[in-house]
């Protein structure tokens, strides 16, 4: 046991050119556009905020039911309902600008051109600190998924967006692939500044008595503690495969979960589904991380990144 150091723990982390006050962000699609959780949670206390996916045009999303609970998990098939670029800039950005934390915009598209247009428009938006390309949403039939399942598609969209923006560019990969490290390397080669890992696992739930899928969309994305072992594995695999920083997520519920991701190589983490069960989850995760560092006598949290002995 180390004695608790008197000086506070340095919680800042750097993701490429971007410095975050601490490693905890809210994950895309689980915290709306900002105002939604701000009544219960002081967003400025967090390291960053990731918006719901933004497309060039507004999207309608899927029919309900859009959610189904599973053991230690949640299936969602929102279908990327979103306000679209123009309304995002007009209605959502003013709030985000005052947030007092890093703002990351999750970008979606049906075609490479759409990704590029959204990214280009955001390039000149001072309120935006980074872009997170969602090449991995499993909920739309003709949507991003085709880019995320192979290294070629993922690197093509990455390269195209790279050329359209100087903002830090994170690419959020799909876990529904055979070899995540291969995709990670391809995306790194195409100019990504960081990787967000992982999006949801493609899953399904059944209403036995009615013999129907519970989700109107049939398939949905599995999130929550159930997927944490898969997420940790992918973060570790990618950490060993690429040099760019990794933002880890998937089932983070407690500070220890988040620290496990960091030890496996994540520079920062995102809290998603946990916010539904407890809207202050991200703040509690952050508190617990600082406390753990103090208890362990770790002066800078960034020092634990990738320290797994394996």
């Amino acid at each position: 046991m180390h004695p608790s150091p008197p000086s506070p723990v340095d919680l800042t982390v750097r993701i490429g050119p971007l410095t975050l006050a601490n490693p905890v962000m809210l994950a895309s699609g689980t915290a709306g556009y900002g105002p939604e959780l701000s009544g219960v949670l002081d967003l400025s206390s967090l390291g960053g905020f990731v918006t719901k996916g933004i497309a060039r045009e507004p999207w309608e999303g899927n029919s309900p039911p859009r959610l189904a609970e599973t053991h230690a998990g949640l299936l969602n098939a929102i279908g990327l309902q979103n306000v679209g670029l123009d309304r995002f800039l007009a209605e959502k950005v003013p709030f985000l600008r005052e947030l007092g934390t890093r703002v990351v915009v999750n970008v979606i598209g049906r075609t490479i051109e759409e990704y590029v247009e959204v990214s280009r428009a955001l390039d000149s938006c001072d309120a935006v600190d980074a872009l997170e390309l969602n090449v991995s949403c499993p909920n739309i039939k003709h949507g991003g998924i085709q880019f995320g399942t192979g290294p070629e598609g993922a690197s093509r969209v990455t390269a195209a967006v790279r050329a359209a923006t100087r903002k830090p560019l994170w690419v959020k990969l799909s876990p529904n692939v055979g070899d995540i490290a291969e995709v990670a390397r391809a995306v790194e080669g195409a100019g990504a500044d960081g990787l967000s890992l992982i999006n949801t696992l493609l899953g399904m739930a059944v209403d036995l008595d009615r013999r129907r899928p519970i989700l109107a969309n049939v398939h949905g994305g599995l999130s929550g503690p159930a997927i944490k072992p898969v997420a940790l594995r992918m973060v570790w695999q990618c950490f060993r495969a690429v040099g760019i920083p990794i933002v880890g997520m998937g089932g983070i519920w407690t500070a220890r979960d988040a620290l496990e991701f960091m030890v496996c190589g994540a520079r920062a983490v995102q809290v998603g589904t946990a916010s539904f069960a407890n809207p202050r989850a991200a703040a509690e995760v952050l508190d617990g991380m600082g406390q753990w560092c103090r208890d362990q006598g770790i002066p800078r949290i960034a020092d634990i990144v990738g320290t797994l002995e394996a």
Partner: protein, 287 residues
């Protein structure tokens, strides 16, 4: 918005699978408006990861005063895993209860006549509304029409058993209590008998989807403004998950409507909607 850890004041078994849960929360007791709801952490405590994973939404039925302090009551029926766990809560247990959430009912202007039409566990928010009307500046003018399946569901009437301004009309599907029929039939019969709804009539309704459809049809056909409270499956209650949607009326054909606005978030745009704003036939809002 607050998400306090509140104390269970009581959790009364009303019979028939119905329970009344009292929670200690002076702030919410004072601030909640009729039709608003709370998201209750049903599987709190013992486990890091709760099962079920999500909280459950419940309407605030009424404020309560107890020796321990002010709070509010939720009337619920045990239907699945979450409500089963809830039914095991005991006095002194603590749960997180986020709220008050959502858009409340808009009480009628003084002089209007309100018709409160409720079915099953949709009745509780109407209790809150009636309590508010009773406390209003002018003598309230409202009438209550309630329907349940049978006498076994009588606990749903909790809060309407006492005398209310304009009377309470009770219907059961099987006639085992009150008259046979539905709450909406009773409302329509009353209007038909009176030669139509009175001037300044407004309807407030909450209940199963079939009932909401019927009440909306009855009101829209007669030009009566109607607010309905819809129950969809809710992930967060805050507008963050986009899981709780209900279809906007004529969503597919209105050129003025952004595709984004074709599905409305019931937790923040509702649960109370003007019946003309939503399409109750489009896709099940809930399995």
């Amino acid at each position: 918005m607050r998400d306090p850890l509140v104390e269970v004041l009581y959790n009364r078994d009303l019979g028939g699978g119905y329970f009344a849960l009292g929670l200690l929360d002076p702030v919410l007791s004072r601030e909640a408006r009729p039709g608003q709801f709370v998201m209750i952490e049903v599987a709190s405590g013992r486990r890091v990861v709760p099962e079920p994973l999500l909280r459950r939404p419940f309407s605030v039925q009424r404020s309560v005063e107890t020796p321990r302090g002010a709070g509010y009551q939720v009337l619920y029926r045990v239907v699945g895993a979450g409500t089963t766990l809830m039914s095991r809560l005991r006095e002194g247990d603590q749960v997180h209860a986020l709220g008050p959430l959502g858009r409340p009912f808009t009480p009628a202007d003084p002089g209007g006549v309100s018709f409160l039409v409720g079915g099953g566990v949709g009745i509780p928010p109407l209790v809150a509304l009636a309590d508010t009307l009773d406390r209003g500046p002018v003598p309230p003018r409202y009438e209550v029409f309630l329907g349940v399946r049978s006498a076994a569901d009588a606990p749903c009437f909790d809060g309407f058993v006492e005398a209310r301004a304009g009377g309470v009309h009770i219907r059961t599907d099987d006639g085992s209590l009150g008259q046979r029929g539905t709450a909406v039939q009773a409302l329509v019969e009353r209007w038909d008998r009176d030669g139509g709804p009175p001037a300044g009539a407004r309807v407030y309704s909450c209940g199963p989807m079939g009932m909401l459809r019927a009440v909306a049809r009855a009101c829209e056909g007669r030009g009566v403004p109607c607010e309905i409270s819809v129950e969809t499956l809710m992930g967060c209650g805050l507008g963050a998950c986009m899981g709780c949607v209900i279809r906007a009326r004529d969503a597919g054909t209105r050129p003025d409507l952004s595709p984004y606005d074709r599905w409305l978030l019931a937790c923040v745009r509702g649960p109370v909607f003007d019946s003309r704003d939503v399409d109750l036939d489009a896709g099940p809002p809930h399995p």
